[in-house]
């Protein structure tokens, strides 16, 4: 504490012993010469500075925050597993149908089969003897339904005669694209509304947050059932019904994201660099989009990834309940739906309903693994 008084004394220009190491440290900083002339005494203080003010080595290439995140992400085995799962699902769904063109989404296998059913009819004659009639029924099926996995049908066919493997790919297209679109819209809505609420505060904040509260009170599935009935009444094309339902889902799911963004912005706008931005006279839009939003991105990305999983589940649920994609079009949920009416399939044809189920599990698990990995990677406190 005592040497704090020394710099006060400007007249004190007495030579001060500076050891060799210190001299080196000093000459490295460009402003040192001015300092020397200004107050020789302070140099004495700088002897303590070796550790803290040694300039970074020019050759040490430090990573940008983004590079650090990527490195930390790939350190976790789980996130790599998740990434592999999702990437392979994507390739499977979007490029699979281009490569595997043996069957189309709604192309029935009409090859059929000829089945011979031997029958034995035993007739008892009046005289006590029996006559046995051997009869073979030849049945020509038009559709090759519930075929077991074979060379022709990798995962067999379903009860209609559609190729399960092909429909798995087309179903993946629906599930993945629908959930991506939904999450994208949710994020855009959440960022805009949450950002406005957090940045401007006051009445605007109150109004937006109360709307959020109301939306979060509404029961999801009953309203979905009503909407689904309405869509039926309006005779909306089966292919597009799922999009309508997802629009509804996004409208009711943005409050979660909005709350997250608002909370982040509330804490960020009190940071001193935001005061500095204010003092620099930056415009409001620059402050929001150049200074606030990039700093909300980490949490937002995690939230988006995790909600991708839940959107896939939602889509599957809707399709299973026959409210989403309808036959003959394929979706993972719709494909599982067959077991709700036909317990034979549940017992004997695992390939028909198990395959889409596994796909759903892989997709949701993959997104959650990636989300968890990103959360750890983006947390600045978890070093390495």
């Amino acid at each position: 504490m005592e040497d704090r008084n020394i710099p006060m004394n400007e007249e004190n220009t007495e030579a001060v012993l500076v050891d060799a190491v210190n001299e080196e440290t000093l000459t490295e900083a460009p402003d040192v010469e001015v300092e020397k002339a200004e107050a020789a005494v302070t140099e004495q203080l700088e002897t303590e500075s070796e550790d803290t003010e040694v300039p970074l080595d020019k050759n040490v290439r430090l990573m940008s925050p983004m590079q650090m995140v990527i490195r930390r992400f790939f350190r976790s085995k789980l996130s790599i597993v998740g990434l592999v799962m999702i990437v392979s699902l994507f390739l499977f769904s979007f490029f699979g149908p281009l490569v595997y063109t043996r069957w189309g989404e709604i192309e029935l296998d009409e090859s059929g089969t000829v089945s011979y059913t031997p029958n034995e009819i035993v007739i008892t004659n009046p005289d006590g003897t029996t006559t046995t009639i051997y009869q073979t029924t030849e049945r020509q099926e038009k559709d090759n339904y519930l075929a077991p996995p074979s060379k022709d049908h990798i995962l067999g066919t379903d009860e209609q005669g559609y190729d399960v493997f092909t429909r798995l790919m087309y179903g993946g297209r629906i599930s993945l694209s629908v959930s991506f679109i939904a999450v994208f819209v949710i994020t855009v809505l959440g960022v805009i509304l949450g950002g406005i609420a957090g940045y401007f505060g006051g009445v605007v904040d109150n109004v937006i947050m109360r709307i959020c509260d109301v939306l979060m009170c509404l029961p999801g599935i009953p309203i979905l059932l009503i909407i689904s009935t309405l869509l039926e009444a309006a005779q909306v094309d089966a292919k597009y019904r799922i999009y309508w339902l997802m629009i509804y889902l996004t409208l009711f799911s943005w409050p979660g994201t909005a709350r997250l963004v608002r909370g982040q912005i509330l804490s960020l706008r009190e940071q001193e660099y935001m005061v500095a931005a204010e003092a620099m006279g930056y415009s409001t839009s620059r402050k929001i989009f150049k200074h606030l939003v990039p700093n909300v991105m980490p949490q937002l990305i995690v939230q988006m990834t995790l909600s991708l999983g839940s959107m896939i589940l939602y889509e599957a649920t809707l399709s299973y309940l026959n409210m989403g994609v309808k036959a003959p079009y394929a979706a993972w949920g719709t494909m599982i739906n067959v077991i709700s009416t036909n317990t034979d399939i549940l017992q004997n044809n695992f390939n028909v309903w198990g395959a889409p189920g596994i796909c759903i599990v892989i997709a949701v698990l993959g997104f959650n693994f990636i989300g968890d990995g990103l959360r750890d990677a983006l947390d600045p406190k978890s070093r390495r």
Binding site: N5, P7, D31, V34, E38, L45, M280, G281, P294
Partner: protein, 363 residues
């Protein structure tokens, strides 16, 4: 004067309400007179009766029920090229005052005259044009730099936004400025998290100076740093002041730092300025008992010199509920009955040396 009439009675009875009413009336009168005075041409910054309140209790209808007076009735003048040091305990309103002067908080009253213009009622849009002339350096170099921008981006962003130099010269301008602030050119591509506190503070200084300001509010720029780094940063600030002709409003609670860098010193207590004057006057002849107590706490390098420390009793009172009379009477070793009831006037006792204390008036 109303105040004197009351005091002249044989038996001194203090009617608090009457005193406060008279005090308020008088304050309003001096305010009005001061507001009409012409602006001082020599002063770069002139502050007249600056006041900043924060609402702490609001009724359902949004009406303010209780206020916290963070800065109350502060006046001073600061000439170009000078440094005004503001000292005071934590929570006495130093930072609020600095930020209010920059209009980062909207003042609740008073005038801020910057460069011959009263900016106290400027809108945000009008302020944007003069933001380049006044800048701020923060206390915490860790939270005052955006974590996801490179040093080059941080320093060149204001230059680009305000068009300080033509676009093609921005990089060389920024590198030149970084050099002046003691930052190597290869730091340009690096991120704030790679630097130590002192270097970050240099980045903050470079950012503040990138728009070529006249006034820089240094809000405790060194208190978060090691003593050794403090010296470097202070020296850097001093040399930059000389080369760029800057005016500093230097806020600190560290008296030795303030003594080193300032030309003038203002001592604040509980939102009010209790003493203001040239550095020499203040250090050689402190008038206010609070200043005396503060200065007695400066550590003495010579262990043989006995320190006559004036130890203040108690804590700083809550600014939400300030004491009556002199704000300092609860802790003042010389407080009289009068101090407990009558607020002292802020008067010029020597040339350019202001203080607010009853004891001085009696002498």
């Amino acid at each position: 004067m109303a105040e004197n009439e009351i005091l002249e009675g044989a038996e001194v009875v203090y009617d608090d309400e009457a005193i406060m009413a008279a005090h308020r009336e008088e304050k309003e009168a001096t305010k009005k007179a001061d507001f009409e005075k012409p602006f001082d041409e020599n002063a770069l910054l002139e502050v007249r009766h600056l006041r900043k309140c924060f609402p702490i209790k609001k009724s359902i209808t949004g009406k303010t029920l209780q206020e916290l007076i963070a800065v109350d009735d502060i006046s001073f003048k600061l000439n170009a090229g000078e440094t005004l040091g503001i000292v005071g305990e934590s929570g006495c309103g130093k930072t609020t005052m600095g930020r209010t002067i920059l209009k980062l908080h909207q003042p609740s009253g008073g005038q801020i005259i910057f460069d011959g213009k009263d900016i106290s009622n400027y809108t945000n849009k009008e302020m944007r044009d003069i933001r380049t002339k006044m800048q701020i350096i923060f206390q915490d170099p860790y939270s005052s730099l955006p974590p996801r921008s490179t040093v080059g981006d941080i320093i060149s962003e204001p230059v680009l936004v305000h068009g300080i130099v033509p676009k093609d010269q921005v990089k060389s301008y920024v590198l030149d400025l970084m050099d002046k602030c003691g930052l190597r050119d290869y730091y340009y591509e690096r991120y704030p998290h790679e630097f130590s506190g002192g270097q970050r503070q240099r980045i903050c200084i470079a950012r503040a100076l990138s728009v070529q300001p006249q006034l820089v509010v240094c809000d405790e720029p060194v208190s978060a740093l090691d003593v050794s780094i403090q010296a470097q940063i202070i020296n850097l600030l001093k040399s930059l002041q000389k080369s760029m002709n800057l005016t500093y409003l230097f806020i600190s609670h560290d008296l030795s730092v303030v003594k080193f860098i300032s030309d003038k010193i203002g001592v604040m207590y509980l939102g009010s300025m209790v003493e203001f004057g040239n550095k020499k006057d203040i250090f050689d002849n402190p008038l206010h008992p609070y200043t005396k107590a503060l200065f007695s706490a400066i550590p003495e390098p010579n262990p043989d010199v006995k320190m006559n420390r004036i130890v203040l009793k108690g804590d700083i009172p809550s600014p939400a509920n300030p004491p009556k009379g002199c704000l300092f009477h609860t802790r003042c070793p010389y407080a009289t009955e009068k101090c407990k009831h009558v607020p002292p006037k802020y008067k010029e006792h020597e040339e350019g040396h202001f203080a607010a204390c009853h004891l001085l008036n009696e002498e």
